[in-house]
Structure formats: structure tokens, C-alpha cells
Amino acid sequence: MAPAAPPIVVVDAVTKRFGKGPQATIALDHVSAEIRPGQITGLVGPDGAGKTTLLRLIAGLLKPNEGKITVLGQDSVTAVTTVQHDIGYMPQRFGLYEDLTVAENLDLYADMHELDGTVRQERFASLLAFTALTPFVERLAGKLSGGMKQKLGLACALLSRPKLLLLDEPSAGVDPASRRELWRIVRTMAGEGVAVIWSTAYLDEAERCDSFLLFANGRLLASGSPTDFSRRVDGRTFLITVPPGHKHRVQRRAAADPAIADAIIQGERIRIVLNDGATLPDAAVLGGTGLPQPVRPRFEDAFVSLLHGRTAPRSSPAVPEESTSTAVTDGAAIEAHDLTRDFGAFRAVDNVTFTVAPGEVFGLLGPNGAGKSTTFRMLCGLLEPSAGSARVAGVDLGTARAAARERIGYMSQRFSLYGELSVRDNLDFFSGVYGLSSTRRRQRIDWALESFELGPVARQTSGSLPLGFKQRLALSCALLHEPRVLFLDEPTSGVDPLMRREFWARIGALAEQRVTVLVTSHFMDEAEYCDRLAIVYGGRMIAMGSPDDLKRRFVSDTLPDPTLEDAFVALIETQGTKAAP
């Protein structure tokens, strides 16, 4: 991939600050990069890394505080109108008009770009065919599925035949099949010479890009070709097989081993990345069986090993050891029986049945709008089922909701804390509403401050804390009353990989103490941490099993080692048209 063509975008030592004075947040810190035509450049990084800011700067929607951006040979600030003519920008929440039809949305964008006559009709036809939206032209944009909305957004951004296409997290929350289709469309555009910038928090997407810019906290950590990047950890990635039921323990030991940079649970095995120059420890010492198998390195492996080199080496995160009551309940911790939920004529959840054993980490996996959140909300008592029943921690939610609530902990995606209050005030409040007695309250708050390392920030306003602290505080608040079942709603979407590892290490330790965990996710990575998964699509549960089980079902000659995403896509395909949105 020789960079033959000259760059279409040159970002030169750009700094962008929001706010003034010492309180200013630095969104981008002296970032320099080049974007070339005919390539897909991945803008990779966790939430708050500066991806959207860079896109907005390139689109001329923001002015840099320092440095200069040249787009198509022109300055992004002084020549903003000429530059914008050649840019297609698709923001994170695309500006679709939900009350207009697909055709009307396209018309509107065509009007904005002053496309007339035959040119207009030709482009409509080709883009609709290209995005496979032709059968849906009369449908309201608001009624499209998540994936179709993104495709329509993309079609609107492509109407003006841009030379530069800026896509801000186009695949977030989209089902894997639609995600693949988006990639196919964008790949074709790049093939026609368009420069594409694709921002994403999914690290596996970085591998599909021609080049990448990896951001964290406003800094450019690495850039170049993703294959070269992954090659940095070549020969240092292995899978360790573990005996059933020992994965959390083995993972913890491996993470603490000085020779190992990264250890994560992948189905029933542990994936490890060795430190540079370290020798492979004996799998038996870690608690595994057999020989560690070498595997192809992934982008994430290289990223984590890079982060490890930068941040002070952190021993395995403090795990709330023996803190939670180990009251063993007989029978299932969660029982969903024929759960159904209708919203008007729309059936969001259709006859979902499953049971979760105590101490199990169970995942509800599916794209946005598949019904997983609705199922989740019914199980934690936020929504009444239209039909069917649910028991949580041995209590029927239909008859004893308040009693069930005393036994469950809940952590939402948005870390629903009181941002104006200090860490301590939040802990005080939640321990109070869970009705803890004053001695127990003091004990539990001390426990939370200590084992979640919140002591130093106890007096700080929780809203001003970094994301990682907020997440820890949210989890500690959900655990103050020692719940037997923990509900997690997309707990680690958009956080950086180290934070995600730390979080899941805590969850693993809880599971070992027989706390049952129910997780929703659209992240395939997150799903790998689960003991069992239910795949939800179109309101129905289309498969259930361990991550390895699900993958094994789709082993074939062409796909000897399918990923969870492969399995998911294959499952949707076997569902045929029944589950079509």
C-alpha cells in the first residue's frame, strides 16, 4: 500500500481546547496526521478520545486553537465553504428527519446540495440500489431499523459525490449483518477514490481499515497500517485452555504475572499477550491445561500492550474479595418464562424463556432495537411484561417487586449517578435508599471507598471525575447492599480496553462469589466474557449457549475459526426473513 496519491487532508499540529483558562479541556493535543484518497482511515479510540472533535475540525465546523488543517489543498477555516462542498459528513446521530420518508429525506439533502433534474434521479436510483433501500423509499425514516438508518444517512452524505467522507461511529449499535454491509458500501466508495474517515470505538474495526489513527485522551497514540501495528506483538499472543469453572481464577493469575501484558477471557479460554522479550510461563502454573496455543495477534492486543508500556504497570485491579454475601440460593437466580412485551401493535419481546444459574454471567446480545433492553427492563422490574412471568433471586417480580429490588443491583450504561454530588454523597444516598442500618452503612461505604480505590476522590464532585472513576463509583453504588443479582446495561461500551479489563475482572470476582450477573451488550468483545449468551434479534431469542458453543456451530471449511460476529451473522441468515426488521 504505497502512499502514491498525495494526502487529501493534512492535519498539522492541531490543538483544540474547549473552555478557557485552567479549566479548559484539551480535546486534541498537537495532533498531526495525513488522510489519503482511496483509503479508509480508521479514527480509533474510546469515548472522549477526541474522534468527533477531529472530524468536526476537518469538516470546518470547529476552528482549531493552534495548528492548521488543509483539506483538498485549502485551509479548513478560511476556505470553509469551498471545502465543505466536497465533504460528506455523517454525524453520530445522523440528521435524519424521522417523520419524513426515505425518499423525502433524500429529496431534502438533494435540495440542500442543489442537485437537479436527471442528475438527481440518477443518483437517487444508484444510491438506493447501492444501499438496498429501494424497497423502503416510502417508509418513514423513524421506522427504519438501526442499520437501515445508518445506510440512509450514508446515502444522504454521498449525494453530493464528496471527495472526502467523514463518518462518525457509523456502526455503533448496528447489528453485525448491517455492519458488514456498511463496510461493503464504504469499501466500494474508497475503491472509487474517495477518502474515507471512519471513526469507531470498536477495535476490531480498526483491523479492516487501510490505515488508522489511534487516539486516547486527545493524543495520537499510534498511526499507520493496522497490520503493521498488530505485528508489533507477533509471536506474543497465545490462548490457554482452562478446566471448566476456572477461567476467572486463571485469568486473574495470568493478569498478575509479570511476563504477561494482557490476559482476557475468550469463551472458555484465556487469551494472553506476553511482554516484549518475556518467556512464556507454564500454563499449568497459571492453572491452565496443555500447551498455550499461539494465535494471530489482533489490533487490540497491540493496543493494550502499548497502553501497558505507557501507564504505570498496574497489578490486577483490586477485586472486592469476600465482600459480598455468599448466600447460596437453590434453583435459578433468574427465570424468564415466556416473557412478552407489546408496545401498541408492536411486539418488542416475543416469548423469551431462559434461566440463569447462581454465579453465572449471562449476556443478552443483540443490536439496538432487537428487544434486549426491553427484556432486561422487565427482569429488573422497570417494565411490566404483557405476558409471561419473571422470577429474580427467588422472588416473583409480578407479586413482590419491592422484595426483589432489595436483592438486585443495577448499573445503567450512562452510570446514572448524581453528578452534582460528591462520591461520598452518592454512596451515602444509595446506602440510605437501600435501607442499610447505620453500622452496616459505614462498613459498606468504607468497603466501597477502599476496594474500588475511591478514597482519594471521596470529596470530589462525581460528575467531574474521569470516566473510569465514574464507572467504578456506579458499580460500587450498585453493590452497596450486597445484591445477589447484578444487572449491567452495556457496562463497558465506549470505554478504553484497560478500563474494560478492570471492570470485567471485578465482575469475574463477583461471579466467583456466586453473584449472578445479567449483561446486555452489542459489543462482541463484551460477550466473550459471558458464561452463556442469549442472542436476541427481532424481539425473539434466536440462539442460546456459551460463546464457544455458538462459535462451534458455525465452523466450516471456509471459516475454521469463526468469531462471535460470524456466528451472529450466520444465525441471522438462518432465521431468514422471519426476523427481518
Binding site: C380, G381, L382, L383, E384, A402, R405, E406, I408, Y410, S412, R414, S416, L417, Y418, G419, E420, L421, D425, D428, F429, F430, S431, G432, V433, Y434, G435, T461, F487
Partner: protein, 366 residues
């Protein structure tokens, strides 16, 4: 249960106090409005710019003119001698009123014939014009009395019943304002506190705790009630101490009234917040309620002057009851039994709205 509610109440106060926006809502608007209403928005009209167009120089005419000149209500700023100048001065708003005495005025007065006094007013400001007219009428009346002119032969100027010239409109405004500001604060705080939680997602977090809907309601209602008490007391004190409004009535009755009123306004705030999904919607909801409720409260215009249908509407307006009651307590020492007539409707409104919002909250869960 008490511990849970107490935790919620403490948290409510903490968030109110630590959030600069909420702090502003509690403190700034009441003070600003108090200053504005008490000083700027007065029904009294003083130093009206008056033009004179006197075509008669005999004694009765001069005497009447000097009465106008001596009145604090009027400042004579111009003299005219032809209709053209008069018209220009009025339309340019250089004067608000012009006193016109014709050539025969003195002769008519002295002969005991009906004498014409013309007062030209800027009708664009009808309210002011009406008040100015009344001031003029008062001056004419005393002039008439002093000269023992028989009414039937008297000076002709139309008069209408309006305020007594000594009437201090602050006595009328400030008790009403105490009610209005208390209403604004309690409704806004209640509506915003639930809407904010909903917007930030913490409301769901509350709903998965063992708190029952009733407990959430209590925890949400008690802090604004406390703030309502503080607000009502502060404004009432300012009215009495700084603006000399009398407080003749029973102070205990005043507090009972504030409590009953808070029950009703918080109920309304709860209904708004159970419908609104965001803080913006909540603020909009509060204004949709408050704008007509203030018009129909008797704060500025007497309910008795309203058409029948809108008088009926005031019956479901807690602010109307509370303004009537508060004026009674401030100015006339209303009795408990009379106060009850105003208290029970507020309690009924409060119970109905709070029950309805509890039902709405519970229904949202299904």
C-alpha cells in the same frame, strides 16, 4: 422506610444546593421580581407630564390651573395656544395629558352655568389615561366643593370608580406577590427535580431501589415544601419591613395557608413532571400552567370583573384561593372559619393532583 425517605430528602437538598442552576431558580427570580413588582410595577401614577391650553385668564380658571400645578400627580411641562401644537405634543408623547379650558370657562362658573373642562388624554396608554383622568376628576371635585358649585351645574368631566388617590397599590401587590413567587418556586423545583432525574437516567436507578412510588413522592415533595415556607416568609417579611405593608392577621393561619398551598402547587408540579421527559419540557409545562393561572388568580385584575366562564375557571386555580386568603390575612385579619373556605379547595386540588401523579408514575412502570 423513614431512613429511605430521609436519604432521598437529604439528596434532594444537596442536589438543589450544589447545582448552580437550581440555586439560581430558588434565589434570583424571587428577589428580582420582588424588586421589580414592588418598585417598578405600581398602579400609582405620579408626575404625569401635563400640558396646559388655557384660553381664559379670569380668576376661576387660574385657580383651577394652580390646583393642577400644585398636585404631585401632575407636572406642568408645556403651555399651548392652538390645537395644532396640542395634537403634535400628544402624538409625540411629550405630554400624557392636556388640560383645556375654553374662553367661557370662568364666565360659566361665575354665572353658575355648567362649565366645560376638557382633559385630552393619550388613549394609547389606556390604563394610565384612566388613572390620570381620575386624578383630574379628584382635583375638579375639590375645586367644585370649595366654590360650592352645585353638582347639577358643576364642572363636567366624566369620572369612573377607580382607586382612592391615597390607595397605596403595594398593599395590594405585595401579598399577592408573596403567593406568586412561592407558587413559582415550589412548582418549578418539583417539576425540575423529577425531570432532571429522568433526563440523566437516575430516575430508573431510583425505581430499581426498594423505594416505593409513595416514598419517592414524599421524598420529592418535602424539600420544595420547606423551600416554599422559607420563600413565603422571606417575601412577607420584606413586604412588611421594607414596604410597610400591614400584617394584621394571624401568623399561624398564614403558615397553615402556606402548607395547604404548597400541597396543591407541588401536586401540580408533580403532574407536570410525570408528563415531561426532559427539563426543557418541564419548564415549558410550568409556564403553560403558570401564565393562565396568574391571569386567572386575581393578582392584577379583580376576578369579579372577569366574564362568567373565566370566573368558573378560577375555581380550580389554587393561586386564586391563596391570593384571596393572603390578602385577607395581611390586610384584614381574616377569621379561621372564613379562611377555611379558601383552605379546603387548595387541599382538594393538592390531594387530587398528587394522587393523579402517583398513579401516572406507577402506570409508567407498566
Amino acid at each position: 422506610m423513614l431512613r429511605r425517605i430521609l436519604s432521598l430528602i437529604i439528596k434532594e437538598f444537596l442536589t438543589l444546593w450544589k447545582d448552580p442552576k437550581s440555586r439560581f431558580v430558588i434565589i434570583a427570580p424571587p428577589l428580582i421580581q420582588l424588586v421589580l413588582f414592588a418598585n417598578a410595577a405600581t398602579f400609582d401614577v405620579n408626575h404625569v407630564a401635563l400640558g396646559l391650553w388655557v384660553e381664559d385668564s379670569a380668576h376661576p380658571a387660574r385657580e383651577l390651573v394652580s390646583r393642577f400645578e400644585g398636585s404631585t400627580a401632575f407636572d406642568v411641562v408645556a403651555h399651548f395656544d392652538n390645537p395644532g401644537d396640542v395634537e403634535r405634543a400628544l402624538s409625540a408623547q411629550r405630554v400624557k395629558a392636556i388640560l383645556h379650558l375654553g374662553q367661557t370657562f370662568s364666565a360659566d362658573v361665575l354665572a353658575g352655568r355648567p362649565a366645560k373642562v376638557q382633559l385630552l388624554l393619550d388613549g394609547r396608554r389606556s390604563n394610565t389615561a384612566l388613572i390620570v383622568q381620575n386624578y383630574a376628576a379628584t382635583i375638579l371635585e375639590s375645586f367644585q366643593r370649595q366654590r360650592s358649585i352645585r353638582p347639577e351645574a358643576g364642572l363636567q368631566l366624566e369620572t369612573r370608580a377607580w382607586f382612592n388617590p391615597n390607595y397605596d397599590s403595594q398593599w395590594f401587590i405585595l401579598p399577592g406577590l408573596t403567593v406568586l413567587l412561592t407558587a413559582v418556586a415550589t412548582i418549578l423545583i418539583t417539576a425540575l427535580s423529577v425531570a432532571r432525574e429522568r433526563e440523566l437516567g437516575t430516575f430508573e436507578q431510583l425505581l430499581v431501589t426498594p423505594l416505593r412510588p409513595m416514598e419517592i413522592l414524599l421524598g420529592k415533595a418535602i424539600p420544595p415544601t420547606c423551600i416554599g415556607f422559607v420563600e413565603a416568609n422571606v417575601i412577607a417579611t420584606i413586604a412588611v419591613v421594607f414596604y410597610g405593608v400591614p400584617f394584621i392577621g394571624n401568623i399561624l393561619l398564614f403558615h397553615v395557608a402556606v402548607a395547604a398551598f404548597a400541597v396543591s402547587t407541588i401536586g401540580i408540579g408533580m403532574v407536570i413532571s410525570s408528563i415531561a421527559r426532559t427539563q426543557q419540557q418541564a419548564i415549558l409545562g410550568v409556564f403553560i400552567f403558570l401564565a393562565p393561572a396568574i391571569v386567572l388568580s386575581g393578582f392584577a385584575t379583580p376576578i369579579a370583573n372577569m366574564p362568567q366562564w373565566s370566573q368558573e375557571l378560577t375555581r380550580i386555580n389554587p393561586i386564586a384561593y391563596m391570593i384571596r386568603l393572603t390578602r385577607g390575612i395581611f390586610l384584614q385579619d381574616v377569621s379561621w372559619s372564613l379562611a377555611w373556605d379558601q383552605l379546603w379547595p387548595m387541599l382538594v386540588i393538592g390531594i387530587v393532583t398528587q394522587a393523579y401523579s402517583t398513579w401516572l408514575f406507577a402506570r409508567k412502570l407498566q
